[in-house]
């Protein structure tokens, strides 16, 4: 495999996490967990998360066609940067990124990513037509961004009622 191809594969699969033979989406999300954990000291955390999500989005949206050609199918399993972007949106407002809150966000995001509630399944089809300026990469990424927004809402509720130690009713 030429070095450029290998580099593209490394990028879309988040360091080959998406090449996992089983459940690539779940492994890919772990890449997001790693990013969020590495940024735990950054202030303000939400800006770093959303900023990194935006950068990853803009880089990887151009690689959707390549990934689909490489894998030979639509929304290929090796492309896991959509999960990374969605996870970073989910954790953007969890307050202190602790092991507990990051793990909780991991399950919350995977739930919405698998469930794909409205309008995720409409967003999946973005960029499939010729007439729009959207690219196939947008379709791959946007449904996970939407799942991330749902996850963001759930994590905001959990933060308010559970994960924030000051409001934790448990003693």
């Amino acid at each position: 495999m030429p070095i450029l191809e290998r580099l593209k594969l490394a990028i879309v699969s988040c360091g080959f996490l998406g090449c996992a033979p089983v459940m690539p989406g779940t492994f890919g999300t772990l890449g997001g967990v790693l990013f969020a954990y590495l940024m735990r000291g950054a202030e303000p955390f939400w800006a770093w998360c959303l900023g990194l999500a935006l950068v990853i989005y803009l880089i990887t949206r151009t690689m959707g066609e390549w990934a689909e050609q490489y894998a030979g199918k639509k929304d290929p399993g090796i492309f896991v940067q959509d999960e990374v972007v969605g996870y970073l949106v989910t954790v953007a407002w969890i307050g202190e990124p602790t092991i507990l809150s990051l793990a909780c966000a991991f399950f919350v995001f995977r739930l919405f990513d698998i469930w794909k509630p409205f309008p995720c399944r409409i967003l999946e089809k973005v960029g499939k037509g010729d007439a729009s300026c959207a690219r196939p990469g947008d379709g791959i990424l946007l449904d996970d961004v939407m799942a991330g927004i749902y996850g963001f809402a759930v994590m905001a509720l959990l933060r308010t009622y559970l994960l924030e130690p000051s409001s934790w009713v448990v003693q």
Binding site: P21, V22, M23, F107, L111, I114, W115, V169, V170, Q171
Partner: protein, 206 residues
Amino acid sequence: MTHGVFRHWPNRITAIRFAGAIVLFSIFASWGAPNHEAVVRATSTKIAFWLFVVTALTDYLDGYLARRDNLVSAFGRIADPFVDKVLVLGSMIFLAVMPWSQEWFPAWIIVVVLAREFLVTGIRSYVESKGGSFAADLFGKIKMVVQCLAIGFALGRISFNWEALGIQLVWLSWCTHILVWATLVTSIGSGLSYVFKARAYFAGDE
């Protein structure tokens, strides 16, 4: 696991829920025969509560995804109700034997609930062997929700400091009592509704 029954998420969710039920029972078993003081607001109690909540809430998800994405499988049709029954009946049996929760879960109620499950399973396999369809009806679903609420209230009551939120423990105790009795009523009621529905199959069969 790119092939076989675990290729798609609905069956994976069913398997994960089963694993969750096993972990929940392991927590109960590790407690031994605890009194109220030993389990109230313990970390393992909170883990057990949240584990039960997530496992019970995802009951709807696997079936919903399977129907929506045309992934209905024989494995799922057998495994999903199996996991539901293991989770609910298993939890109720543990709650009936542990000293802290015996007050709310009399053993005889669990026996009635179990008997209803055996009866309905027997009727279902007979009706389906005759080519009839025997899907769970609304009454059966209400029964499942009431059972899960009863278990959730029993575990939730000892998991958190409700009094700090202005909620009296005695109210939660009464809610649990009522929910357990509602479990009995809905179990018998939905069992009878299945018996009446299946009467057509018995009538023509000597």
